[in-house]
Amino acid sequence: MDEFIAEFVNESREMLDALERELVAWEREPGDQARLDVIFRFFHTVKGNCGFFDLPRLEALAHAAEDALAGVRSGKRTIDARLVDAVLAVVDRIGEMVDAIDSGTEVSQGNDDQLIAALSGKEIEPVAVAAPVAAPSEDPASSGPARQGESLRTVRLPTNLVDRFMSGISDMILVRNELQRQIASLGHHAGIEASFNRLSTILADTQAIMTRVRMQPISNLFSSYQRMVRDLAADLGKQVAIEIESGEVELDREMIELLRDPLLHIVRNAVDHGLETLDERRAAGKPGTGQVRLSARQTGNVIRIAISDDGRGIDLDRLVEKAIARGLLTREQASQLTPAQRAMLVCEPGLTTASEVTKISGRGVGMDVVRDSIERIGGKLRVDTTAGMGCAVILDVPLTLSIVPSLTVQVGEQTFSLPRSYVSEIVTGGDGVEAERIGGVRHITLRDGLHPCLSLDQVLGIAGHKAPLQQVLVMVKMIDGSVFALAVDAIVDSGDLVVRPVAPAITATGLYVGVVQLSDGSPALMLDVAGIGRQSGLLSEGQGRLRLDSEAETRFDQAELLVPVVAFAARDGSRKAVAMEAVERIAEVGQAAVGFAGSAAHVVLDGEIIPLLGLEDTLPEDALLDILVISDDACRLAYATAGDVGAEDLDPATITFQSGHRLGLLGDQPVELLEFGRFGAIDDLPVPGTDGPTCRLPQDDPWARDFLRPMVEAAGYAVIEDNRTHVDLEVRFDHDAPAGAARAEQVLLIGDGHTSDSAIAREDLAGLSQALRAMTARSAR
């Protein structure tokens, strides 16, 4: 925490220094809107930081000042000399307090209240502040700067110094390589070789450290918001889950620092405004816990950072109305805006749709600052929002100096690199995968289908060395999920490379994003995979841009969806699996513990008799028997196996009922999925479902049959198939009419598109299962 405080102190001092000139100018000309905005942002930032560090007094001051200036900005207040004085006094006081924090002393309460009262424009009653205004003890403490620096443990270096250091090391490595060649030509000389090897090791270490000095995984930055989100959520009485998906993206330290504040604003906005309160969310049929997602991905020559929430989104109509009311644009202009442009209005100074101003944000400050800061570093900001569904702020920041996990490939005489994030797999070419040409385009077959294939030598117009069947196929997964093969002569290497920008004339070809330096010091171009796909007509312009974020989304969902199972060889020779959640443990029992009562087997375990399933009718001949102990709240039972027990992940999308058994795919092997307890009932046991809640599902829909039904059953419902019975829950598609005369206590709508707000999208499985659980809880009551 100390280092954060030190950061805060440094940052505040820097801001105060920068503010000095603005203040003087503002004092001369208080009507200057731009200056006012700058000063306003200062207070806003200080306030935000204070909330984070629990510095209530500073926060109160900054809040009061911000409040007063907000009044001016919105035209509710006019500027007079007294307000200017009051603002300046607060700035001075903030400076004193920052010094005090740095030196570890306390500024006595003094006249904060007086300052705040002055800001609020009320008459100051001299009597009330007649008490000693500045306690004498305050003075030694506030002469802080003399003691500053003691608590600093970090060194700030100009980045160009670090740059020069780093390129110096790179140069040393090149010289080292040259030296190595020369030593090799000298013949064997043990002494020189030993020294040379030591030099190499030291150099490699130094280089590794140096790289670390400049680069930081973006996940560090993302994680630093977790605490803030948690505290903020607690303050606001909301439940917020923050999700971080940063892949292996690393960013230049300097870039990270430049992004820190803008991102903080965005995240804070998402939690404060984006997400609804618990009650509002429930009323909207959303899970009570709001989601804020931070993701980063390298796409082409930019790092794309997305901050998204599943909150209420931005009310674009209201935003436009406000913009018109504030004279930012005319009604005619407004009518011509695209939805994207309308959303971008949120970045105009002073515009916000938040109906109430909270102490965290909501005065329309933030987004204009954010956009300015992002544009200053050459980035772009975009806002994507759907009313009721949430909001995503997408930042594209340039990849000026960043390390990209890459694949180096060879074509003919040349070497190229491409970002590994695009590569889904590498396939050896040959008859096995080669398919017919379709419309003159070469295609290849993989297990999951037919994919177009581009030969990199043809794309680049150079001569490759390998015949088509000998080529190596790099399977490239595009952002929209489509896959194509890029045929190259050979894969050379795979590793982290530093990508540097390359001349605009070269990027203008649309084939390259930058240049990297290979380990031998020679330059290699990094391919613009998306550009190549686009130029070859495999990807339309629109696709490349619009769906950039959805892929990360899908990947995430899939990962979440895989169900961990325990798979085992059953005693009838088949392979079966059971949800890992249901398995208490795997035990080994002796023959003596197993017994029969009639045809039902049981086993004695932990001094308890529990039913044993999965046995043939006779006692096993093995001396020891591997059993799975399965339990949930309701029952405990054992299942006999023939060994080969292992944990696997099962994709529920492969589950099918068609054969009358529930089968799923593990790899390419079908397994029977056993259901126990709340995962449904196994045939041998009495069905608990009859007196539990009942549910009707859409009929004649494969998705409902194969997918929804298991989920509904897992939630404890018995599925009723006729249309007349009264049920506890009816699940239906929002485009279907309610089922005739039959009644249902509750209805859950599944949406196929955007037809209605209360419907849950088919793809939103997490939402679906959460809604089901909520329904079950209600039914039980």
Binding site: L174, G461, A503, A505, I506, Y512, V515, Q517, S522
Partner: protein, 144 residues
């Protein structure tokens, strides 16, 4: 104010380049070609750890290709990108005698595009070349 210029030789002609723009003169090492790039971009090379885009000055001036004759290059940085401008030879660095004069001659398109004006120096009269326009090359010019 007179400026000092670097006198280089391209396709048999002498050209003048503002000396303060030239960081160094290097002997070109291995040049990695850039497929599908505009013709005057000869490729990429490395100067220590920096990647430079190699510009073939003859092609950039829309002259006949000079074969593989370029051995020397002038290093310059424009808009944060490093370039190596391949030339035939470097003659001297001299002070210009006066300001560049407007061109009265009708020049070939490449020269016309890249030349700022005629410049008198202690070693004779030659064209002062604008490096940015040289680097932009013919294709870029057409597109603009």
């Amino acid at each position: 104010m007179t400026q000092s210029v670097l006198v280089a030789r391209v396709a048999g002609e002498r050209i003048a380049i503002p000396a303060q723009l030239v960081q160094s003169v290097i002997r070109l090492g291995e040049v990695v070609s850039v497929p599908r790039a505009p013709g005057h971009i000869a490729g990429l090379t490395t100067l220590r750890s920096q990647s430079l885009t190699v510009i073939d000055s003859a092609l950039a001036l829309e002259l006949e290709p000079q074969g593989d004759g370029h051995e020397l290059a002038l290093v310059t940085t424009i808009d944060g990108c490093g370039y190596a401008i391949a030339i035939d030879a470097v003659e001297n660095v001299v002070d210009a005698m006066g300001e560049p004069e407007a061109l009265s001659l009708k020049l070939a398109p490449g020269w016309k595009r890249c030349a700022v004006g005629k410049l008198e120096t202690s070693v004779g009269v030659m064209l002062l070349i604008d490096l940015e326009r040289l680097i932009a090359g013919p294709e870029q010019q057409k597109a603009a």
